[in-house]
Point group: C2
C-alpha cells in the first residue's frame, strides 16, 4: 500500500467557506455534518455517524477565529487531527452541545444577523433550540454551497480516491478468483473484507447477492453456498486514508454464463462507456444521465434509475449527483462514479457495474478499469 | 453459526407505539430514524445511515393503517423485509420525500392536531417543511418514548445480541492468537474482520491502537507493525442478523506485561465486575454509574467517563445510557454494555474493557465472558 499524505490545508478550505459567507451575507456558519466538519476541520469523528446524539459542530466566523465543539471523549483524537486551534469540549449528558454552540455564537455578539446552517444535516431538535435562543438570528440553509466546496478534488484527494477505488477492485478480484462454487457468500465476503483491511480500507458496506436476491437494492451476504449458473452482484465500499470512500460494483457468474447473460453485460458496459464519454468540463451533470438513458433506450433495455452516478469523497453520494434535474456544469477535478444497473426481474437477474473517473480539462480519466465480461467464479 | 430467526412481530411493536400516541394525545407519529423505522417496520434500509438524504419515513396512525415512505430504489428489498402493507415509493430527486409524507398526513385529515416526531433524528429541513405546510399541526418530540419502546428485549433479541457479542469476541481472540509481533495492526484487523464476516457480522467500526495512540478515543488501525512491550486496545462492533449490533472492547499486550500493567488491568476488571453486580431490576441506571465511579475512587484511579455503559440493539448506544443523570429504573430484559476505561497519559497507556449482560429478574446474566488478564500477543 502506498500511503498518500492526507492534505492538511483545512484552513484553505475554511477560507473558501468564508467566500460562501460573504455571498450570502452571513456572519457565521455552523457546520454539523460528518462530511462538512471532516472536510473543513480535518477531523474524522466517526461517532458523528455511529452515535448521532454525540453532536459535533464547527463554527466558522468572518474573522477566521473558528471553533470546534466536540464531546470530551473525542477531544484527544480531534486535537491530533485538526488545525482548528479553538476546541471547546462538552461533557456528554451533563452539557448540551447545541447550548454550547449557542453560547459561543452569543459570545461573538451573534444575537442578530444571519447564520448559515446545514438544514439537511442539522437535527430538528438543535434547530428548535437555535430558533428559540437566538430569535433575532436568521438561520440560512447553505447545504448546497457547503457541498459545492467539496466537489472539485485536489490532486492529493484524486490520488487517494483512485487508490481507494483500485484497492477495492483488487480485493473483489482476488476474492472471486480464490473462491468457487460451494463456498458461501459470507466466506467470499470475508476474503474481500480482509483484503480491504490489508490495503488500509475500513469496510463501510458490503452488499453481495445472487440471482433474484440481487434485485433487492442493498442485500448483504448470507450463509449460503454459491451455486453453478448463478449470477452474482457485489456493491461495496470502504473508507481509506481515514476519510476517503470507495464505491464499486461488479457482476459475475458462477461457472460459465449463457450467451444471453454475457450479451446483457456487454450492453451494460457499452452503456457505462457512453456515460464516461459524456464527461467533459462545462457539460451539465444531467447530460451524463441523458446519455445513459438514451443508450438504454437505443438497446431497448428498460431504464429505471433516478440517478446513474454521483460524486465521491468524504461523502458516499456527493454533489454532483448525475440525475436529470441537475444542470450544474461538470468541472475538471470532479471525481464521479458511473453505475448503470439493469434489472431483469423476469429473468430473476440484476446486472450492475460501477466505476470511478475524474473529470479532466479535456474529458475524463478512468480511476478504475471497468470489467470486460461477466466475472467468473470457478464452478 | 447458529442463526436465530429474526422476530417478525413488528405489528406488535407498532401497537406499543400506539400506546405512546394515546399517552401524548397524538393522532400520528412520523418516524424517521434508521433505528426506529427498522424496529417498528422490520426494515434494514442501510442507506438511512450511509446516504442521509435518502429519507425513509414510517407514518403510524391511531387506526393501525400505517404507511412506509421509501425511495423506489429500496422498495423491492423493503417489501421483502416489512409487514407494513402500505408502501409508498418516491422517486429520488424528482419527488420530495417530506412532501410525500405531508401529503399522506393531509390525506388522513391531519391538517390540525398533534403529530409525534423524532426531533433528534428528523432533519431541520424536513421539520421546516412540516411546520410550513401543516401550520395547525403541533409537532411533538417523542424521541425518548420511541427509544423506551426498544429497551426491553425479547428472548429472540437477547439470543441474537448474545450471539453477536460472542461471535465478535471469538473473532478478536482468534485474531490475536494467530498474530505476533512484526505483523501489522491492519493485518490483525483483517483477520478479525474476516472472522466477523464468516460468523455473519458486517463490520461497523474497528478501532485498534497501541501505546499512546490508544488514548485517542476512536483510532483506526494503521500499517504499522506490532512491537514487543506495547499495550494495545481494540473496540469494535458489527451488525449481525441484519440489525443487531455488537460492541466489545479488550486490552492486551505484545509479549509479557509488566506487573504494574497487569495490576492496572486487574483493577479495571474489578471495577467492571462492580458495575455488573449493580445490575438489578428497579435500581436506577445512574446507580450503576455511581458504583463504577466509587470503585475508581476506592482504588485511587482517575475517573473521567461521562457514561460507563449503554443499551445495545439496533442502535449502538441505546437507552438506558448508564450516566449519572439517568435515574430510569433498570428492567429485566435490558441488554447493557459495561465499559470502564482508564486513561494513564503519563504512562502513555489506555485500558478499556467492554462486555455485555442482560438484566434478569434477579440480577444479571453475562452475555460475554470478561477477559481475565491482559491478552497476550506473541512477541
Amino acid at each position: 500500500m502506498t500511503v498518500a499524505a492526507t492534505p492538511k490545508n483545512f484552513d484553505a478550505q475554511r477560507t473558501r467557506l468564508r467566500e460562501v459567507m460573504r455571498r450570502h451575507s452571513l456572519q457565521a456558519v455552523a457546520l454539523s455534518s460528518y462530511q462538512a466538519v471532516s472536510y473543513c476541520a480535518g477531523t474524522n469523528i466517526l461517532t458523528q455517524v455511529t452515535l448521532p446524539d454525540r453532536l459535533a459542530f464547527l463554527g466558522c466566523f468572518e474573522d477566521g477565529e473558528d471553533v470546534l465543539v466536540v464531546c470530551s471523549i473525542e477531544a484527544t483524537m480531534v486535537r491530533g487531527q485538526t488545525d482548528v486551534k479553538d476546541i471547546v469540549e462538552y461533557t456528554e449528558f451533563s452539557d448540551d452541545p447545541t447550548a454550547v454552540l449557542i453560547g459561543l455564537l452569543k459570545g461573538r455578539g451573534l444575537t442578530r444577523g444571519r447564520v448559515g446552517i446545514e438544514a439537511r444535516r442539522l437535527q430538528a431538535h438543535s434547530y428548535r433550540q437555535l430558533q428559540d435562543d437566538l430569535p433575532n438570528v436568521s438561520l440560512v440553509p447553505v447545504d448546497e454551497d457547503v457541498e459545492e466546496l467539496q466537489t472539485v478534488k485536489s490532486a492529493a484527494e484524486i490520488e487517494m480516491l483512485g487508490q481507494a477505488a483500485r484497492n477495492t477492485l483488487k480485493a473483489v478480484l482476488a476474492g472471486v478468483q480464490s473462491t468457487s462454487a460451494g463456498e458461501t457468500e459470507l466466506s467470499l465476503c470475508a476474503d474481500i473484507g480482509a483484503s480491504m483491511y490489508n490495503s488500509g480500507g475500513m469496510p463501510v458496506f458490503t452488499f453481495f447477492s445472487t440471482g433474484e436476491r440481487a434485485l433487492g437494492a442493498h442485500m448483504e451476504p448470507i450463509d449460503r453456498p454459491l451455486r453453478e449458473g448463478e449470477l452474482w452482484r457485489i456493491d461495496l465500499g470502504g473508507r481509506f486514508f481515514e476519510l476517503m470512500n470507495s464505491d464499486l460494483a461488479r457482476t459475475g457468474v458462477v461457472g460459465e454464463p449463457s450467451a444471453q447473460q454475457e450479451d446483457i453485460l456487454q450492453n451494460l458496459l457499452a452503456i457505462q462507456a457512453a456515460g464516461f464519454a459524456a464527461l467533459e468540463p462545462g457539460r451539465p451533470a444531467s447530460s451524463v444521465y441523458r446519455a445513459i438513458e438514451a443508450e438504454f433506450a437505443r438497446r431497448d433495455m428498460k431504464f429505471q434509475m433516478p440517478h446513474i452516478g454521483h460524486g465521491l469523497g468524504i461523502g458516499l453520494h456527493e454533489f454532483p449527483i448525475l440525475q436529470p434535474a441537475n444542470d450544474a456544469p461538470l468541472q475538471a477535478g470532479m471525481v464521479l462514479n458511473i453505475e448503470p444497473m439493469f434489472k431483469a426481474p423476469e429473468r430473476g437477474e440484476c446486472y450492475h457495474v460501477e466505476d470511478l473517473a475524474v473529470v479532466t480539462e479535456n474529458g475524463y480519466e478512468l480511476l478504475t478499469q471497468p470489467q470486460s465480461s461477466l466475472i467468473r467464479i470457478d464452478a
